[in-house]
């Protein structure tokens, strides 16, 4: 399995695609994200625009369930 990483230039966060989730992870579904956070999440996936921690409303280590599973990592 490959790990797809969406690099977010000039930002403090990146989304890393993951294949499995540990029992102690914090997991959220995209429908739990605010509209703007959802937008930022998908924009970030496409790698189009840098994002910052404050803007995205996500914490490092969070796992987001979208079309794949992604972990929010500090860059």
């Amino acid at each position: 399995m490959h790990m797809a990483t969406s690099e977010l230039r000039g930002s403090s966060l990146k989304l890393t695609r993951i294949e499995s989730v540990s029992a102690d992870a914090t997991v959220r579904h995209v429908d739990q994200l605010e509209s703007e956070t959802l937008d930022t999440f998908y924009t970030a996936l496409e790698g189009n625009r840098p994002i910052t921690t404050a803007e995205i409303g996500l914490n490092a280590g969070d796992i987001i369930v979208g079309p794949e599973y992604y972990r929010v990592d500090l860059m």
Binding site: V21, A23, T26, H29, D31, D39, T43, V65
Partner: protein, 412 residues
Amino acid sequence: MTQYVIIGDGISGSSAAETLREKDPDAQITVITDEGEPLYNRILIKEHAKGKLPEAPISIHDEGWYEERDIDLSLNTHVTSVDTDAKVVHTHDSGDLEYDKLLVATGGTPTQLPVDNSDADGIHHFWTFEDARGIREHAEQSDTGVIVGAGLLGIDFAAVCGAQGIEANYLMRGDRWWRYALSADGAEIMHEGMRDVGVEPVFDSGVDHFETDDDGHVTAAVDPNDERYECDFAGVAIGLSFNTEFLRGAGLEEENGLIVDEFMQTNVDDVYAAGDLTRFYDVLLGEQAQNGSWGSAKEQGRIAAVNMAADDEAEQFEWVSSYSITHFDFPFLSFGHPTLGDDYAERKYSDTEWRRIAFKDGKIVGGVLIGDLSPQTAFKQLMREQRVVADQKEVLLEPSVDLDELAPTQEQ
């Protein structure tokens, strides 16, 4: 000291309890649920059933969460009736509870197909974490499946079959999936998504009856055209019946859901309702509406609590809901009320990109985005602003929506 009773510990009831404690530190708050576990993430249980997510991250609150907030939690407690004159809640075997203000947040229960053998072993409905555990266990041992219910919950069964390697037929009544919101172009993208995971959509079908073996386990679904589809696993998601039977005689107005205003007040004093089971006054739509989604249920619980604590009409529910499908390699988002309205615009952009916008009185009231979700923020903003834009469909159908290209709002 005010006594608040909340029936239901789903996201709407739980969010109300949290807000009540913030707003009224001294109040007595009781949350009653007939489930055996405190609030969990109902929108992630499908990931557990798919075999992708362990149990632990799906739990949201443990019992300590309620203790820390001095909220009484009654698990495994079924409310049997409510006396709104005496202001008492009766439970099956945990006695009676008096209230000053009551919140009904009891959601719904999946409807059974009214056909022979619809309660056979191996036929699943999907609402609770317990359901998800059973579905996962059985799906792991199954080879062939049938899915019924061409809507947002049925497709979760398709995803479970896909992820668990079950070869399945998805029997639909009309000529496409979710025909109330999607045209043939949009639906075909979803059908391809299903086929890619090994689920075959079957149109103009449905279930006339199920067949079982001698042990009462499902073996096939027979459709109204007499076609027989073998299956050792079946998933049925044809709709929800709201959990309101315990309110019989309580005087609450019901019309396929509990009627509430924009403050989540029912027609009976000091009784509020929130979540899936409400038919609420939607201030953006200008009429009563319904909404079965996580974000909306959470916000309704919060709004109900704000108004209960204020003993006033302090804040109204004003919300644009979202509902995503995350099972395929393209994203899908339904927002607002995509099946309502008097006008619409739609366009297909590629084999995996499609958009539909529904309008009422010229204003956007909902829509569906497949493949490219980038316009969602703009569309939701236009909904909140209640701007008349139906005469500018071309701008709204541009691949990249730029609100600055819209003509300035005319004075109404």
